[in-house]
């Protein structure tokens, strides 16, 4: 007799470690890319803006699964001649793509800091760089928090797509369970509910961060 699927729950749950490695890595890399990209798009020279726009357009317009396969089978081994494992490739691709999205979140936040803030900073004698780091960034980063909360929820669910490369995260493990027990409804429902729990739990954490850094009257318009 086949084993019943719920005996495998601990095995599926262990996949959360990989799921959160993907999510954490992707968000962090995306942040490291997204913030400078947004600043380049807003304050950079025209040629740089064009390059960054092209980057954002490509990674926002191409499906994640195509990007994963393109990089795993094409860009890294063929074009660059490096062999990267599925996990590393997945984190890099999630990060590159999230960077494109995060740059949009952050650009919106930068744009919603009104012009007067820069003027007043310059009038005090700050250099453009001092004004950006002391006045514009601290405001824009706060305004962007709700956008990042959203980005977390998106990347969490997208991390499931990394099963296509065989990263042993929640969904890959769930599929193994389905194959070995012959039951599909229970395991897949369980996985789905797990993602819902992680979405709401993570959102709670971001909301705590938001409350902690929230400043009265500082809200972005239309972010």
């Amino acid at each position: 007799m086949d084993p019943v699927w719920w005996e495998y729950i601990p095995y599926i749950l262990q996949g959360a470690i990989w799921t959160f490695t993907l999510v954490g890595g992707g968000l962090a890399l995306g942040f490291a890319i997204g913030v400078p990209v947004a600043m380049g798009q807003k304050y950079g020279p025209t040629w740089l803006k064009a390059v960054l726009d092209a980057y954002v357009w490509f990674f926002r317009g191409t499906p994640l699964v195509v990007l994963l396969f393109l990089f795993y089978w094409g860009v890294f081994p063929v074009l660059l001649g490096i062999k990267l494992d599925a996990l590393t490739t997945s984190i890099i691709v999630l990060g590159l793509r999230s960077g494109a999205y995060q740059s949009q979140i952050f650009r919106g936040a930068l744009n919603s800091v009104d012009e007067g803030q820069m003027l007043a900073a310059r009038a005090l004698g700050m250099t453009k760089w001092q004004a950006i780091t002391n006045i514009i960034l601290p405001q824009a980063l706060r305004i962007a928090i709700p956008g990042w909360t959203n980005e977390y929820a998106i990347i969490l669910k997208d991390s499931a797509i990394c099963f296509t490369l065989g990263v042993i995260e929640i969904l890959t493990r769930t599929r193994y369970v389905v194959i070995s027990t012959g039951e599909a409804l229970g395991p897949f429902l369980f996985a789905g509910i797990l993602y819902i729990i992680f979405t709401y739990g993570g959102t709670k954490v971001f909301n705590i961060i938001y409350e902690k850094y929230h400043i009265p009257g500082l809200v972005g318009k239309g972010v």
Binding site: G116, A123, G125, P216, G217, L218
Partner: protein, 259 residues
């Protein structure tokens, strides 16, 4: 005669010479020349579109003039060799829309220029900021409020303190009361008047004729990008040489109920 006049010396602190500025096909400033002496309060008046705000921004180069020169205490600001950020520290600027930094408390707003630009130690900056806030009658209970938690009048007074704390040679006021509810205008004008009496040099773009008559040493009346007329406040307001000047002050008196 303005009340600040007894403090006015002969030393010219600001010289503005032949400033021109054009935006696309419109010439906003067509050669403006004047000077401000230490301790003096000068009011710039004139209809909207006369170029008053542009002129103020050309002085600290927030807007670059196309032609003309500006000196502060003998240093030419318009010289590309001059470190403009260093010179801007000496020019206070008060905006119509306050432009307080949204993420900083009242006290932090006043401190940030001192710590980040003047590089003063925190405790020294804090003391100076507190003094400046008390000078503009922002009491301790408001020091830790964020801009969104202050009234318009309080915001503008904090903005004045932010400028004042830098020990500026001159403060430029760009219509400092235009964005305020009428009942809040008085508290800001009072602070500006007190500063003028203490001998803080000021250049004020305003429609407040009462303030000009009480406090200013001279009115510059701007029209069409030029200074059309200038002189002691009472002369310019009550017996102007030009018809447009007379019309302007007549209308403004009706509108603002000047004394």
């Amino acid at each position: 005669m303005g009340r600040g006049s007894e403090m006015v010396g002969d030393e010219i602190v600001l010289r503005v010479e032949n400033i021109h500025k054009r935006y696309k096909d419109q010439e906003v400033l067509k050669g403006v020349t004047f000077e401000v002496r230490r301790g003096e309060t000068k009011v710039i008046a004139g209809p909207s579109g006369a170029g008053k705000s542009t002129l103020l921004r050309c002085i600290n180069l927030l807007t670059k003039p196309d032609k003309g020169r500006v000196w502060l205490e003998g240093v030419e600001l318009t010289d590309p060799e001059t470190n403009i950020n260093k010179m801007r520290q000496k020019i206070g600027f008060v905006f119509q829309e306050f432009n307080l930094f949204h993420h900083l408390t009242a006290l932090e707003n006043v401190m940030i220029g001192l710590t980040k630009v003047k590089k003063l130690p925190k405790d020294v900056a804090r003391k100076k900021a507190e003094e400046a806030l008390l000078t503009v009658h922002i009491t301790e209970d408001l020091w830790h409020k964020y801009p969104a938690q202050l009234s318009g009048g309080q915001k503008q007074r904090v903005a004045i303190a932010r400028a004042l704390a830098m020990d500026p040679v001159i403060i430029l006021y760009d219509e400092p009361t235009s964005a305020l509810d009428p009942q809040l205008v008085g508290e800001v004008l009072r602070v500006m008047e007190e500063l003028a009496r203490k001998g803080v040099t000021g250049l004020v773009v305003t429609h407040e004729i009462g303030f000009a008559l009480e406090v200013a040493d001279e009115i510059l009346f701007m029209y069409g990008g030029r200074i059309l007329e200038r002189g002691p406040p009472r002369e310019v307001v009550f017996s102007p040489k030009h018809e447009v000047t007379r019309k302007f002050f007549e209308n403004i008196t009706k509108l603002y109920g000047g004394k």
